[in-house]
Structures are given as C-alpha cells and as structure tokens.
C-alpha cells in the first residue's frame, strides 16, 4: 500500500465520521468542532493528491476562518435561543431544498465515480510533469490563475466586496446598533437627538447634567470636595 492510499483511507474515514458528527451532534458547538475535523480531513485528502497548496489553503480559509465565523454566529444567536416549534417549521420548509441538494451531490459523486464527462466544465490537463516543469505546485497554479483564468480571478474580488458589504448591511438591519460599536450614521444620530430632546423637554434630563452624570465618579469624598468648593466660591 502506498502512502497515498494510507492517507486517503485515514483522512477519508475521519472526514466521513466527522461529517456525520456535524449532522447528528446535538450541541451546535460540538457540531462546529466536528466540522473543523471534517474540513481538516479534506485538507489531508488534498495532501494525498499532492495538491500541497490547496491543502494549506483549505486549512487557512476553511478550518481557520470559516468555522470561526460559524462559531461566532452560534454564539451570536445564543445556543439555547432556538424555539423548537420554529425549528420544526424551518426543517419542514427547507427539507425539499436539502433533499434536492443531496440528490445533486450524490449525482455528481456517481458521475465522478463512473467517469462520465459532463458537457460543461474543464477536465484536468495539467499532469504532474507540467507541475514540476513550472517549478512546483504554487508556481504552476499561479501561472494558470494569472494568465488563463484572469477574469474569474478579478471577479472574485467583486464577490469578496459583495460578501463584505452584504455582511455589514445585514448587520446594520438588526434593531439597534448603538453600543455594539457601529458608527454614528445620520439616521441613528437623528433618533438619538430626538430622544435627547424628548428627555430634556420632559425635564427628566437636563442636557448639562446628562453630560456630566455619566462621567462623574460617584465617590462621596469627591462630592464633598466639590460642595465645599462651590460654597467657598459662593462666599467669595
């Protein structure tokens, strides 16, 4: 048995087991942990194929970044906050789509195994020799990416922009971002100023007081000093 086969069997098995774990583990954090295992195993599978660059990139982007995002999202939403009835509803709504996705996935797998070529897409033409000639994995990939696949590469940047902007826009839609660090946008400023004015009009809050109340140390000693000073000033 060659090293490639051993790697394939070991990582294939761990990928499968942890993928099953992702689906069946009850605790979402455990699922995410399992996902780390699954994605790292896929990196191992790439390694077995001598796709060294792809293998490390898989770890950097998927294991190291995407799952962190998942974990943040799980923590952001709160683990126990899901309403079971709502979850049931979601499950029923999404089942057909999940089923369709599964069918497509299995179909693709079958096509790959049976070796039927699809009418679209590209089949690999770069042999190991071609890679070696270019001076290695990264060089070969780089040469292809920055010459033949220039347009898809540039389009990726637009995808990245869409992802960033989309994320921020969605985050801004959550009800109130004050205190969560989001900047002072004009409409937010409008709302706060209305609140402040309303408070001031009701006499609940004197703008001068509000300005200081937050910052003054509620220390009785310092208060005493302040009082003393004002009275002295009054006399003088």
């Amino acid at each position: 048995m060659s090293g490639e086969w051993i790697l394939y069997i070991v990582f294939g098995a761990t990928a499968l087991v942890s993928a099953i774990g992702v689906v069946f583990l009850a605790n979402p954090i455990h699922s995410a942990l399992s996902l780390i295992g699954a994605l790292a195993s896929v990196a191992g599978l790439f390694l077995a194929q001598e796709a060294f660059f792809l293998s490390v990139v898989q770890i950097i982007v998927y294991t190291g970044a995407v799952v962190v995002l998942f974990l943040f999202v799980i923590m952001l939403l709160g683990i126990d906050s899901a309403d079971p009835r709502e979850e049931q509803l979601l499950r029923r709504q999404w089942f057909p789509w999940a089923f369709l996705g599964g069918v497509i996935g299995v179909g693709g797998l079958v096509l790959t195994i049976t070796g039927i070529d699809l009418p679209f897409g590209v089949s690999g033409t770069d042999t190991a020799d071609a890679v070696n000639e270019a001076g290695g994995n990264v060089q070969a990939l780089s040469e292809r990416l920055f010459t033949d696949w220039l347009l898809p590469f540039e389009l990726t940047s637009i995808l990245v922009v869409a992802a960033i902007v989309g994320g921020v826009v969605l985050a801004k839609r959550t009800k109130d971002l004050r205190g969560s660090g989001m900047g002072l946008t004009p409409d937010l400023a409008e709302r706060i100023s209305e609140e402040v004015e309303a408070d001031a009009a009701e006499g609940e809050l004197d703008p001068e007081d509000a300005f200081e109340a937050d910052d003054v140390d509620p220390d009785p000693d310092s208060d005493a000093v302040l009082v003393g000073e004002t009275s002295e000033n009054g006399e003088g």
Partner: protein, 360 residues
C-alpha cells in the same frame, strides 16, 4: 533522493532534536523573562532552584503536574479537555518549517548529494512553507475560543471571544506583512527566503515597515503584552484559562512560550537573514551547519528578549485601540507598501530588491 529507512531515521532525529531544543528554550525563556522583569523592576527574581534559579521553570512544571487539576462542575467535558491540546498542537506544528541552518550531505557526492542523504536542518522543507506556518496559526485561534466556551463561566467566555477576534484580526495583518517578503524572495520556501538574504542582504532594511508590522502582529498573535487583553487580569480575571488549573493550565502556558519561540524564529528567518552569519560563508566549511544553528539561535534569542522587554515596558492597550490599530493602520499601510515593493521588484525584474536597496 530515494525514500528509505535512513531518510525516515534522519527525519525523526531532526524532529526529536528540534523538539528538545525548543523545550529547553521554552524552559529558559520562562526563567529569563522572570529574571529580566526582575532586573528591570529592581527586584531579584527567582534565584533559589539551581544556580541563578535556572531550574525554577522545571520546578514549576513538576509542581503543576502534581497539583490537583480541578474540573469545575459547569464545564463541557469534551471541549474543556480538547482546548489545551488544541493550543499545544499547532504551536509545535508551526515549528516544522523553521530552517535552523544550511542543509548538509552525509555520504553523498556533488551538489545534488547523489548516493548519500541530505539533512535539511529543518523538520520539513516544504515549498509552501510560509503558508504552512499561517495555517497552523489559523488553527491556533480555536484554543482560546473553545477554552473560553468550554469553561462555562463568564469571564473565560468573554476572554475567549475577545481572544479569537483579536487573533483573527492580527492574523490578517501578520499574513499581509509576510507577502512583501515572498515578493522580495520569490519563493514560499523558508530555506529559499533565507538564501535570498545571504551576503547581509537582510530584508529588515528594505522591508522595515512590514518587519515592524510583523512584529506587532506577532505580539498580538501570541497574546503577549501589550496585547494580552485575552488574559487581562484587571478586567477578565485570568481570561480564557481562568477555570483551568494544574497540568491543563501548564499546557496553555507552554503553548504561549512555544509560540513566542516559533514566531521569533520566523521573524529571524523572514527579516534577519535566518541562519546566515559573518562566519563561515555557506558551504565553505564542513561545520557550516553548526555555525548556522548558532547564528540562528543567537538572533532568535535577541528577538525573544525584545518580547520580554516590551512586556515590562508597555502598558496594555484598550480593546478598541487594539482593533483600530490592526484594521485602520497595519492592514491598509501594509497593502500599500506591498504594492510599492511589487512595483519595485517587477521593475527590477532581473536583479533583486535587497541588493539594489542594501547596496551590496
């Protein structure tokens, strides 16, 4: 070079040697940090265990091993146990690509070492070396996050979430500041990066800004002061490892110092010419590898010393300052500098950057 039993033996030997050396360095580093801090604060520091207190770290290690390792009631067992391991593993694995000296040949002939065995002075000479290091530091994020969550207690959770946001942010800065090095060296292979800096064409000078940013990001990546918000005692008790005791705490502590050693070694590799030194010029003497290792260690120790110095000197940053520094300063400036370097390198496509700038 054929792969056989001898290659495997050499590989294993290298791993064991590197492991032992790094463990020794960690043990000495923990002691040295306490002594340096003591000197700077006009105290004495640990001086009881062994000569100059040298054995203090070992004594502490044994103490931690024999201490009761409390598992608090509210923890998530699986995650709680896994987190220390996840701290240690990437810390050690990142070491794999650090070149400690020039490779040498045993029993072979000629430059390609035919018929013999080539020893790399490096655990694995990967042609994606730089990216291997980045992937390991990417995995390092999970230790704090999972330790914080697994502890099932407030302050560790806050520390863990804070830690992971800090580490991923500074990882973006860290990986961006290595790109100019790759541009200047034209390779991702760490040994190649060192060779590109031979003859004193260190990247530190032409790439001073990326070097500085790399160092700042390295401080933040390893959660060292002044970026140790992860375990800021004054606000988070002990941070993500508040609920850890005994050996599990020891593993976190150890991982931090292994990371410091690794990242200092990488700073030397990327910016200070790695194992190259004034004597001997690579390959001219049979024991060049030994000298290489000595130069390398000396440089690395200096960088580790700066880590200690900064720890004693600088006050801790506030979280918003930390994030602003990373996203508003380091990342955009790095990107602009990178493009400038790339323009220069492409313009001088025949020569290379450091020779032109360093005037060698």
């Amino acid at each position: 070079m054929e792969f056989d039993g001898w290659t495997a033996l050499i590989g294993t030997g290298t791993v064991v040697a590197v492991f032992v050396v790094v463990m020794l360095m960690v043990i000495l580093a923990v002691w040295a940090e306490r002594r340096v801090a003591a000197v700077m604060q006009t105290r004495i520091g640990p001086n009881r265990a062994g000569p100059f207190g040298l054995l203090q770290t070992i004594a502490d290690g044994i103490k931690l091993l024999m201490k009761e390792s409390i598992t608090p009631r509210q923890v998530d067992r699986l995650v709680y146990e896994l987190a220390p391991l996840l701290a240690v593993l990437p810390a050690f694995l990142a070491l794999a690509i650090v070149p400690f000296g020039p490779g040498f040949c045993i029993g072979g002939q000629g430059t390609d070492c035919s018929g013999g065995y080539f020893v790399d002075m490096q655990i694995a000479n990967l042609n994606v070396g730089v990216l291997w290091f980045l992937s390991m530091s990417a995995i390092g994020v999970y230790a704090a996050l999972l330790a914080g969550w697994g502890s099932g207690s407030k302050y560790p959770l806050l520390g863990g979430v804070r830690a992971s946001a800090q580490v991923i942010s500074y990882e973006a800065a860290l990986s961006l500041s290595v790109v100019p090095v790759v541009v200047a060296a034209g390779t991702l292979d760490t040994q190649g990066i060192v060779l590109a800096q031979s003859q004193y064409r260190w990247f530190l000078l032409p790439l001073f800004i990326p070097a500085l940013f790399f160092f700042v990001a390295a401080l933040a990546e390893t959660n060292r002061p002044p970026f140790d918000l992860v375990e800021a005692e004054s606000e988070l008790v002990g941070g993500f490892h508040t609920e850890y005791s005994g050996v599990r705490f020891m593993l976190f502590f150890l991982a931090e110092y292994v990371n410091v050693v690794t990242i200092s070694a990488l700073f030397v590799t990327f910016f200070l010419g790695g194992w190259t030194g004034p004597y001997p010029v690579a390959g001219s003497v049979n024991w060049a590898p030994l000298f290489g290792a000595i130069w390398f260690l000396a440089k690395t120790v200096c960088i580790i010393g700066i880590f200690f110095w900064l720890r004693v000197t600088l006050p801790r940053l506030r979280y918003d300052q930390l994030m602003a520094l990373c996203w508003k300063r380091l990342i955009p400036i790095n990107l602009v500098y990178l493009m400038a370097v790339a323009v220069w390198v492409a313009y001088q496509a025949t020569g290379d950057l450091p020779r032109l700038v360093g005037g060698g």
